[in-house]
């Protein structure tokens, strides 16, 4: 019998600042899932957009993390979107919520 080789998809929402313990917990979950060869989609909302350039986040991105960030939250915080994440509206979050096998939030 053929083995199922399709990777599981994990969606993660983080809305707290990078200094918050929950931000770190979210990243730890992402790291564990990436190690397990899952596809991981991280959406940064609200205060979490300040963490897009965080070294921990970018390291995970280097290991395959798909990184999204809320453009509205950036605009309100006068953060200029760069090239280290895909910036967009809640339609991106909707896609992550509806298309992943599991979805977890850290707020």
């Amino acid at each position: 019998m053929e083995q199922e080789s399709k990777a599981r998809k994990l969606g993660i929402l983080i809305s707290v600042a990078p200094t918050h313990a929950s931000f770190h917990h979210g990243l730890q979950l992402a790291a564990a899932a990436l190690t397990a060869k899952d596809e991981v989609y991280l959406y940064c909302l609200d205060d979490a957009v300040a963490g897009v350039e965080d070294q921990r986040v970018q390291t995970l991105r280097g290991h395959g993390l798909r990184l999204f960030a809320c453009a509205y939250a950036c605009q309100r915080r006068k953060i200029v979107p760069g090239e280290n994440a895909l910036y967009g509206g809640l339609t991106l979050l909707n896609d992550v919520m509806s298309a992943t096998d599991r979805f977890v939030s850290f707020n």
Partner: protein, 130 residues
Amino acid sequence: MMETLADKLKVDLKPKRKVLIIIDADPRTNPRAAEAVRLAGGVCVWEQVEVNIVLHHAAAHALGEAAADLPEGKMYKQFLPMVREKGGRVYVMPDDQTMEALDTEVILKNHIKEPALAELAAEAAIVIRF
């Protein structure tokens, strides 16, 4: 492969994933309450998931008579009706103090008790708490 007209007319019978958003943040002092409501509205509008909201304790002020005067008050006016229009429910679980700020009709129509909340959470594929 090209999509045919028949494909386009097919009814999507797959049940929508249920999302429950529980808001504890006090909208009088905490902008996260408005952000949670914006998230709910911004996601439900795409109709790919079913979104329900529970305004827990002080968060129920978002449905109070003075909601428009709250910081980010326009968010509550804009996005809570949007959730309802898309078939979702906006429940309240006010504490005693918050209950005084709510219209009786709002409480009667939207109040939810702990066992029903537990049931909603158990049925939801995604629970987000702000």
